[in-house]
């Protein structure tokens, strides 16, 4: 039982699990998601420990991380159609996004948004946990300079990603 999810959020979670449980490319999706998330952590570590050469890498890290996050949570976005190409889905112009599906059910869309934000937060906490442990380790075993201001920037980026997630949910609702 998840104390952060209310009754309806748990029901939505169960509903989405059932909708997507036969997705045939879930494993590769997860592998790609983890790959991008690890890349994000590595780039963030470079950014935090370097003086001036790796500024640009932070930008790429954010973009890569967002892709990673998308891959990790996209079962919350896409209703998988087994054996149907995306092109055919588009030609059908029918329900292929969970946001559309949600609006056809009695579920409260606000709870769906909360669920997506919670899922994003879970991934962010894991990624930030690994990042902070790595920073501590680097600080203890090496003489590399660590810039605390940059750690704050990395943490702020997580808030930005949460905001992007919220805007994404809201736009799905509006459209």
């Amino acid at each position: 039982m998840n104390i952060f999810k209310n009754e309806e959020m748990r029901q939505i979670d169960g509903f989405l699990y059932e909708v997507n449980k036969d997705a045939d490319y879930k494993t590769i999706q997860r592998v790609v998601g983890y790959f991008f998330s690890i890349l994000f952590i590595v780039f963030s570590l470079f950014y935090t420990c370097e003086n001036d050469l790796m500024y640009a890498s932070f930008y790429y890290a954010i973009v890569l991380y967002y892709f990673g996050k998308l891959f990790l949570t996209s079962e919350k976005i896409q209703v998988f159609h087994k054996g149907i190409t995306q092109q055919k889905q588009l030609s059908l112009l029918k329900v292929n996004r969970v946001s559309q599906l949600m609006l056809l059910t009695p579920f409260n869309y606000k709870n769906y948004i909360k669920l997506r934000l919670l899922d994003t937060l879970k991934i962010e906490i894991c990624v930030m946990g690994i990042y902070l442990i790595s920073i501590c380790y680097i600080a203890l075993v090496s003489n590399v300079t660590i810039y605390p201001g940059k750690i704050i920037v990395v943490l702020i980026s997580q808030i930005v990603i949460l905001i992007i997630e919220f805007i994404d949910c809201y736009l799905c609702w509006k459209l």
């Binding site: 059932e18 609006l103 059910t105």
Partner: protein, 222 residues
Amino acid sequence: MNKILELKNVTVKNKKFKLENINFALEKGYVYGLVGKNGAGKSTLLKSIYFENWPYKGDIFFSGFDIKKNRRSAMNKIGYISEDFYFIDDRSMAENARLFSMAYSNFDEEIWEEMTKKLGINLNTNYMDYSRGEKIKAQLAFAFAHKAELLIMDEASAGLDAVFKKEMYDLIREGLVDGLTVLLTSHDYEEIKRNTDFFAVIKDGAFGEFKETIEENAYEYL
């Protein structure tokens, strides 16, 4: 008066039209029809009642409760029947019913089986392979299975054969005995005349009152 749906000072609008200050109340156990030209706002009004993301101003009450604040309990008791409403295309109707029943607290498996048998719905066929009539039948069976008290039917009978239309209205009439209420739109004047107890005309952005007889000039709005 036992009101199931009440609209108070409701305004809906889009780029083409604006319907202002709509006020009406639907009593349980009757069929209500909406008449109006294409683009008059009939479908938009119905969607504003049912869909969370269709904006409106004013208050909509379902069984005396604000629909915005009690959306889930209201949606459990409202069935939306329309060509626009769809289940997941590449799943069988049996699978669709299994999935969507998770969202409806009142879903009754026995009623679902009974209704699908009665309407001759093949549950193993994918939803996208159904004809328009079969899709409407499946939606209707699903609405009955989740014990809808109000059916919102947006041009649901358009393009259906006469036999199924009769079957559909017979089903509705049976439901009325148990307190079902129906709000529908149609372009078929004869159909409106034959099958509704009250109707209202939407004309030039104004919403008329629900009346028992169709006025002579109603023809021009069909």
